[in-house]
Amino acid sequence: MSHSALDSSPAAAGSQPAIDPAPGETADKGQPSRKPRRSFLPYGLILPAAILEILIHIGPMLLGIWIAFISLTQLNLTNWLNAPFVGLQNFVNGLNPESTIGQAFFSTVGRTLGYTILVVGFSWILGMAGAVFLSSNFKGRAILRTFFLIPYALPAYVGTIAWAFMFNQRDGAVNQILVDTFHLFGDERPFWLLGQNSFGAMIVVNIWQLWPFAFLMLMAALQNVPTDVYEAAAIDGATLWQQFRTITLPMVRPANGVLLMVMSLWTFNQFNVPFVLFGASSPKEATLVSPLIYQNSFGSWNFGLGGAMSVLLLIALFIASVFYIRMVLPKGADND
């Protein structure tokens, strides 16, 4: 594997800021290397952040892992340090495909994966279309841009509860428009928050909430693409689709990498949308992983089982993220 000169020297350049090697020149390996001055200042500076990180992230995470190995119910909730240690029992219960709980877990994980792909896919397509559309100059662009960002600016709860009202079978706006105005679905008003349709309704609400984020990020990334590249391509006879495929997509690749990962993690762990749309227990056809963990923990008061399921997901998401970062990010890491 060959490295470019710039790739091989960032460490040297970083430790010797005074002697910047000229572009294209390798750092002189013959010179006696200066030892970086040991100082506690950098550690002191990151200390407050490190303490907060431990308190906010690492501590609760370790606590969650511990809960997965104990039998924590309301009987020992106030004295949880003395809850009996049950080893892997919670994991066995959660993963046993023969049991009701295991079956629910596996089908929910599958459903959540499908949900994530659909929501992230559609949000990305909409965000990209919006960003490309608004990257050309025209009158009213600023207003449209603001308009597109409204769902993102609204508090999640407010937006979702408005959708819950609209999806109501008897009095909701969705059925008023689809059934009363356009006479779709025959005479029967379909239920949107019950049965199979609830999965679709939840996807619509989540896309509505998520796509402006993709739009915003991609629009920012598109600002970095020089216009003369497009002009040159146009002169060479490239169609708009060819320009998009060979210029736009590769140029926003690093932004896309981060964007897709963040959106996937958020969507996979989605809790707000189903909780506000359906209440504490989602319909079977629309149960996602986070609400399932909530139901196990707070509906059945089986915190150990909820903890075990959380740990399993944490591991799965961690592995997926590491793979993803290795696949996508290094290639674009030093761009920008």
């Binding site: 906010i56 119910t73 309301q74 009987l75 909730l77 106030t78 004295n79 219960n93 049991s99 009701t100 709980i101 993102y152 109501n168 079978q169 008897r170 005479d187 239920f191 928050l193 019950l194 049965g195 199979q196 349709n197 984020f213 915003l216 990020m217 629009m219 920012a220 600002q223 963040v262 958020w266 209440g279 504490a280 227990s281 319909p283 079977k284 139901q295 707070f298 509906g299 059945s300 008061w301 089986n302 089982l305």
Partner: protein, 440 residues
Amino acid sequence: MKNPLKVLASLTAVASLALSLSGCGGGSPQATSDTITYWASDQGNSLDDTAAKLKPSLDRFTEKTGVKVNLEVISWTDLYNRILTAVTSGDGPDVLNIGNTWAVTLQETGAFEPVEGKLLEAVGGEDRFLKTSWSTGGAEGKTPTSVPLYGLAYNMYYNTKLFKEAGIEKAPVTWQEFVETAKKLTKDTNGDGKPDQWGFTAAGASVSANSHQAFVRGLQNGGTLFDKDGKPTFDSGPQVEGVKQFIDLMATDKVMSPSDAEISQGSQKIDNLINGQAAMLFDQSPVKNFEARGFTDWGVAPIPMMSAGATGDLGTQSHVAGINLSIFKNSKNKENAIKLAGFLTSDEEQVSLNKAYRSLPVVSGASSDPAFQTEEVKAKNDALANHALPMPLIAKEGQMETLTGTAIKNLFAKAATGTVSEDDIKAALKDANNQMAAAQ
């Protein structure tokens, strides 16, 4: 980062991460020594109405003792989780209301003050209270951790105008009569070929109301939710039969609107009765809503039973419903919290509050008040005294309510969007049963 759009993009990214990290924050305000915090359940037409009706009582308390009460009224959909969060964090109010069916479950957490010593003294001892109500304070044979506050029981309420229009003179007594009556009352009144007036309405998405029906209908059919050894028997024959009767009202009898599968708040079904969209409902205390809406065309009758005059378990019409009051062990203001418990259970306040909320006094000294001699209150009293059993007094009662109530909620959803077979009902109750067994 000169580009303003990029700055905005980065800021939103950071802000959304920060927001997702911060989660829910904030706790109840720190009480000063002369202020206590009280979480009241929603007993009125709305949270504001409940607070307004409670205020004169609390003002009298402040006048008498100099202790201010920081009141928060919490809706029934949130109350259970709010209590659980308070128990988990140890940071709760000084005094709070609980649904009495949760008493044993919450007793087991050890987060509440036992009703003995000073607290028992303050509420005037056990003998002041009605026996059935007192029995809901905690598990049998243990010191209770909650004091009864308001008494309730299920009755059937109906729209007398719709009854008259259909030529029905008497409220149905047996389940069969009830279904037949409901069929007569299910009508297409505007000629579009679809019913717009239904015989019966219920909050099909209300987990707790559904679990009460699972309990009552099971007992009427000779079943129980738990066997003698405490093992769940949600999927036993009579229990399945009882739940089937309830689901069938929508699925096969077609006397209940499919839209009811989406109703989660009791007030919505009461609206249906007032608006004439439904003729009958089961409820504990809808009269305050009737009065607030100026609705007078209502009647009250006992919940139908499988056979007329049934007694014992087969004659069950309601669980011993009601609201209890508990004091947090962690309260830094226990003296004053105990004072409030004593005050709210005094004869005078029992009369005033139960009159306002249309519930039943839980102390014998208040029952003789003229306000509690109406036909409706007498019906409720009869149900409570002769046809009510407490929900299973077990530590996992809360889980049982969640599991059976959710199973019925899902079955109503299935009935609204398709068909429900007996096997579907069996399978749903079996799932709930397995989860209950795993949680035990």
